[in-house]
């Protein structure tokens, strides 16, 4: 464990932000803090039985791999899984499958497998995907792994099953970043920037501070996070290397320094700076620190997000009265409004990975919700239904949107399928959880 604490901070700890940087390995194996509650299901989901894997060579397996796969597939909203208690048998080999039993239950697919202890100390995960009605194996793999990587391997199994059956890449082995706030006393909170698996398990604190943190955003290669920190008595943009824990303040100065967004090429950030008198969008080049101003209007211009082709951005502007979404080329040119006939409040747009849709924070009489805008047709659909929803972020395969919602104990994370049909909450037991950012595929 490695913590950075300057003497100055230690001396003036009461009045100056105390900032700790913790390596990922440090906080790993404590109890899972984030649990999942599935709220509404999808009628057209594919029935699948993920049979508990047989264990070979271990009295007590460290993880229930099949349970992780079952939970992943259920959480996607695309599969209807069945609990092990209802299964007629638990085959681990193709030859042991009694197909008639499963057909009677309406199970179209099975996942069966084994977890083998390797003599050198690692594990091998062996699994097969079986088509029940055809009586055929669709896929089979043997994956060598280590104890430390076993959970990740389980998510890889989910990815492989998902892709084989749906023809779309799975996002189960990705990660999310988010901010937690733990209130210690009136006016004194601990703010943490955390990274967890996409299912909320295995959270690691990568930054801890006594001053607010905001707007975490992933570099396209998943190796850096940019975020806003108030540790120096004003908003400033920081960049942190997730592999080394090193962090660097990259943009500070008079006024607001916030809303960082990586360009798809990873070489530039769009940022919001108000140093010239009011919040405007700038481009910041990471290599040389060059700043180029993009917007020029006395209104608030903020919350830039890049189109996947890296040629344009969408952003929030209230130049028309209230906040709406606008789009402009990064080479310059006039911003054009995107959100029409969508009421008076649309902010914080995020592109879907295919560039065809935006998730936005949409305000109406019943509160603030996440809405998905189809850019080709300009149709929009409100996909969440609580009173105060914010901070939408697409999964890298575009199938789900994670966001923050007001729960009974404060804000918590939730996820919805992009069509709004499946909703689930990721509840944390430790204070507020906010501003989730879904990380990229880990190639």
């Amino acid at each position: 464990m490695f913590s950075i604490r300057s003497r100055e901070f230690a001396r003036r700890a009461l009045r100056v932000a105390l900032v700790l940087v913790l390596f990922a390995a440090a906080t790993a194996r404590a109890a899972e803090e984030v649990t999942i509650r599935i709220e509404e299901g999808v009628a057209s989901a594919l029935p699948i039985a993920v049979v508990p894997f047989a264990t070979v060579g271990d009295a007590e397996p460290p993880l229930d791999v099949a349970a992780i796969v079952r939970a992943d597939l259920a959480r996607s909203g695309q599969f209807a899984t069945m609990p092990p208690e209802g299964m007629p048998s638990q085959p681990a080999a193709f030859s042991a499958i009694n197909f008639k039993d499963w057909r009677v239950l309406g199970m179209e697919n099975l996942v069966i497998g084994k977890l083998l202890r390797a003599p050198e100390g690692g594990y091998v995960v062996e699994f097969r995907v079986v088509d029940v009605y055809k009586g055929k194996q669709l896929m089979g793999y043997r994956v060598p792994t280590t104890a430390a990587n076993l959970r990740l391997t389980a998510h890889h199994v989910s990815d492989l099953v998902y892709e084989r059956l749906l023809g779309e890449r799975g996002a189960f082995s990705t990660r999310i970043a988010y901010i937690t706030v733990e209130k210690k006393a009136p006016g004194a909170s601990i703010y943490r920037l955390q990274i967890a698996d996409a299912d909320g398990y295995d959270p690691h604190t990568i930054l801890e501070s006594t001053q607010p943190l905001m707007s975490p955003t992933w570099s396209p290669d998943g190796n850096h996070l940019a975020y806003v920190s108030f540790e120096d008595r004003n908003s400033a943009i920081w960049l942190q290397d997730l592999r080394s824990g090193e962090r660097k303040k990259i943009i500070a100065g008079e006024g607001i320094n916030s809303a960082p967004a990586f360009a798809p090429d990873g070489q530039r950030l769009a940022v919001t700076l108000s140093r010239d008198g009011n919040p405007e969008i700038y481009l910041y080049r990471l290599g040389n620190g060059n700043l180029r101003r993009l917007t020029n209007h006395p209104a608030i211009d903020t919350e830039a997000n890049w189109a996947p082709d890296g040629r344009s951005i969408v952003f929030t502007s209230d130049r028309g009265g209230g906040p709406q979404i606008y789009r402009m080329d990064v080479d310059g040119g006039r911003p054009e409004r995107v959100t029409f006939n969508m009421g008076n409040y649309n902010a914080r747009a995020r592109y879907s990975p295919d560039g065809r849709r935006l998730a936005v924070v949409h305000g109406d009489k019943s509160g603030y919700h996440i809405a998905v805008v189809d850019l080709a047709s300009n149709d929009f659909q409100v996909v969440t239904n609580a009173r105060l929803d914010e901070s939408p972020s697409f999964a890298p395969n575009g199938s789900m949107i994670i966001y923050a919602t007001m729960g009974s104990g404060g804000t918590e994370l939730a996820a919805t399928s992009t069509d709004g049909r499946l909703k689930q909450r990721l509840a944390t037991q430790r204070g507020e959880v906010r501003e989730p950012a879904w990380g990229p595929f880990r190639d």
């Binding site: 908003s235 903020t302 914080r348 914010e390």
Partner: protein, 183 residues
């Protein structure tokens, strides 16, 4: 607007300030945060300067020495300015307070104040950061207009990140939409 026109505007606004404080104009805002009149002008929201105003715009006492900051009876003891929903307009009920602080700063040119701008929790966080700044800058403009020098007034926005109260209803929200004057 430049030059003479700008000076005239300043004089007019100062005049409005003196006469508008206690005028019998309809309040165009209410404590529940509903702005019923969208006023984009700087400063006062009261418009009926019909001669009903009597009290001076520089309220309470003439103690502008540095020790006045510690006097709980001084108008300088009021350190929070409140705002309506999605608005950065200075409400008329804030004008006495701001006038007192401006006069104090004018009289103590070596002192400075930090204006911390805030927003309630509704809507997007980054937009709220900008809204908090807009409020802080509105207060800053008012103070400078009324005599403080620009170098004495620093502003910073915390958006919705540091609420004064934790509730989720309008009462809490109205207490979180604020600018705090921190000496």
């Amino acid at each position: 607007m430049k030059g003479a026109g700008q000076k005239l505007l300043v004089v007019l606004l100062a005049a409005l300030l003196v006469t508008g404080c206690s005028s019998r104009s309809t309040r165009s805002d209410d404590a529940q945060g509903r702005a019923t009149v969208e006023d984009r002008s700087m400063g006062q929201t009261g418009t009926d300067a019909d001669g009903g105003a009597q009290s001076s715009a520089l309220p309470g006492g003439s103690d502008l020495s540095a020790s006045a900051l510690n006097d709980p009876a001084s108008p300088l003891a009021v350190r929070i300015i409140y705002f309506d929903y999605d608005s950065a307009n200075i409400r008329s009920d804030s004008s006495d307070t701001l006038a007192a602080h401006a006069a104090f700063l004018a009289a103590n040119p070596t002192l400075s104040v930090t204006l911390e701008g805030h927003a309630d929790e509704r809507g997007s966080r980054e937009y709220n950061l900008a809204l908090g700044e807009r409020r802080a800058l509105a207060v800053r403009r008012q103070l400078v207009l009324l005599g403080a020098s620009a170098g004495q007034v620093r502003s910073v926005s915390y958006g919705e990140e540091r609420p004064a109260v934790d509730g989720h209803g309008e009462e809490s929200y109205s207490l979180n939409r604020r600018v705090e004057l921190v000496y």
